[in-house]
């Protein structure tokens, strides 16, 4: 019963996605070309990677508003390290660690400080944006034109077997995320924590540690997205990532994960992110005026959740 239900749910969103795509491809034949599909996937990679981390957080019943600011801050660090001539591999590692550390800081404030996730990550969001502005002095940081910069930029703009690198990264992130959530203790505890925090604690599980993990993962993946975005543009923007938290949360919720925690799957999230990505792409392809794009986006989000919501 349980398995069937969630299967049908999954199919439902996939069916919705497919129907939606068919309609668009009728309206615009260029939509369903290999080139455009790779294009959509590459564009979706940023939001979906952030949303993957957000899924972990939301499954515990939390929320992470700081993702966009972490993306900007880590992107700026990455760009400055690369432009200073650092080995790109090392720069990536350091950047990811910074992201994870900021994420863990979120986790500490929430678990040890007993601050509500919304407000803790809002504070860190504001703080990290300030740190980015101070660090960049409000100006973009170019990664430079050296050999190492070239290698680094491949992470965003490169191809392997004609498929853009960010797509591989995205697939890897979701495969790993799926494994953790489905097959490991950590995954089980994340669902448990989201389902009933008291009961999880009484089962002898350290819920504090789980919080450190999920916010750490979210920070790490925000940094990964920051790396990709910086590599794509060969430059880091101080305003990067503004408002990305809402897109990521929307992807997670469109994917059927409940903001109350305890229910959902990371595969749903990638579908949610694709819905948003396809929508953006399609509206652009059809040259819909940006004003009406807002209207369309609001409507699609609403219709999607209304279709997807659970029967009471």
């Amino acid at each position: 019963m349980n398995m069937n239900l969630s299967k049908v749910m999954k199919y439902k969103s996939i069916i919705g996605l497919v129907l939606f795509s068919i309609i668009i491809s009728i309206l615009n034949p260029r939509f369903l070309t290999v080139g455009n599909i790779l294009n959509i996937l590459r564009q979706t990679s940023i939001n979906s990677i952030i949303a993957a981390g957000m899924t972990f957080v939301i499954l515990t019943g939390g929320i992470d508003l700081s993702v966009g600011s972490i993306l900007a801050l880590t992107g700026a660090y990455a760009a400055s390290m690369v432009s200073a001539g650092l080995n790109p591999f090392l720069a990536v590692i350091i950047t990811l660690v910074i992201g994870a550390v900021i994420g863990i800081l979120n986790g500490v404030i929430i678990s040890k400080g007993k601050v509500q996730p919304f407000i803790a990550t809002l504070a860190i969001m504001t703080f990290a944006r300030g740190a980015t502005l101070v660090f960049t002095n409000g100006k973009p940081i170019s990664i430079g034109y050296e050999k190492n910069a070239e290698i680094f930029s491949k992470l965003g703009s490169g191809y392997f077997l004609q498929i853009p690198i960010p797509i591989y990264i995205m697939i890897l992130v979701f495969a790993l995320g799926y494994y953790i959530l489905k097959y490991t203790r950590l995954g089980r505890y994340i669902y448990a924590l989201g389902g009933n925090e008291e009961a999880t604690k009484l089962s002898g599980i350290s819920t504090d540690n789980i919080k450190l993990y999920v916010y750490g993962i979210s920070g790490l993946l925000s940094a990964l997205a920051g790396i990709i975005i910086t590599a794509r543009l060969s430059s880091a923007q101080p305003t990067a990532g503004t408002g990305y938290e809402l897109d990521a949360i929307a992807a997670v919720v469109l994917g059927g994960t409940s903001l109350a925690g305890g229910v959902g799957s990371i595969l749903g999230t990638i579908i949610g992110a694709l819905i948003i990505g396809i929508l953006n792409n399609a509206l652009n392809l059809m040259d819909v005026s940006s004003y009406y794009q807002f209207l369309a986006k609001g409507l699609v989000i609403l219709v999607a959740v209304l279709l997807d919501r659970k029967q009471k």
Binding site: N28, R30, F31, T33, G35, N36, N39, R42, Q43, L133, N137, G138, K139, P140, S142, S157, I229, R232, L233, S234, S235, Q237, P238, T239, A240, N280, N281, N284, L285, M286, D287, S289, S290, Y291
Partner: protein, 279 residues
Amino acid sequence: GCGAKPAEDGKEKIGLVVSTLNNPFFVTLKEGAEAKAKELGVELIVLDSQNDPAKELANVEDLLTQGVSVILINPTDSDAVGNAIKRANEKNVPVITLDRGANSGEVVTHVASDNVAGGTMAGEFIVEKLGGKGKVVELEGIAGTSAARDRGKGFNDAISKSDIEVVARQVADFDRTKGLNVMENILQAQPEIDAVFAHNDEMALGALKAIEASGRNIIVVGFDATDDAVKAVKEGKMAATVAQQPSLIGSLGVENAVKIIKGEKVADFIPVELKLITK
């Protein structure tokens, strides 16, 4: 009144309210103003409106509380800034507008480049480059800002006299990442594009990334002449950018503020030269 009263330490205080400090253009403008203030020995208080006219109004009120002698405003919006200026007028604190003008309130002088003219410059350059016909894409700035409006107006006026057709017009919020994504999508939709005009260099550089990846040959024209953009023009990646001189706008603002404090007369419009930068 509380107008031209010297500060406690004897230094004159001047306030500068900037629309946003998240954009390199305004950072440069601010830096120009700061350098000049240092040179002239006045204290400059810089406040950031974060693109929100309500915050702008609050900033002006806070400056008036502080007892500044002159206020320099770079408005978030030419209409909305009116009441902030009026508030300063009530307290007899002179106001200078920078980069964007004000539609109401009393302003001593306006230091700016002409965005409509800049848009026209870009339009005429593209008309000339394409020989009077072709398909162009316009990447617009933040909806509702006067810079986006004025540049769009100048540009579209300029090309309306030719056979150039705008095949796509999309907002990318003066933002580089959005410029990249929007351009990628447009490239998918439009088999034929000859040129792109972006309302600022940030979007132009984003679009340039998308175009380079597609391997297509498209002329890109930006606005502002930021360091990155000028480099791209010199390397032949971008065709042109309309150079504003934000640093000069800032420093002229402070210079004239000091003149006003000293009681000297200033012109009511101080134009700052615009230049088309090409290779």
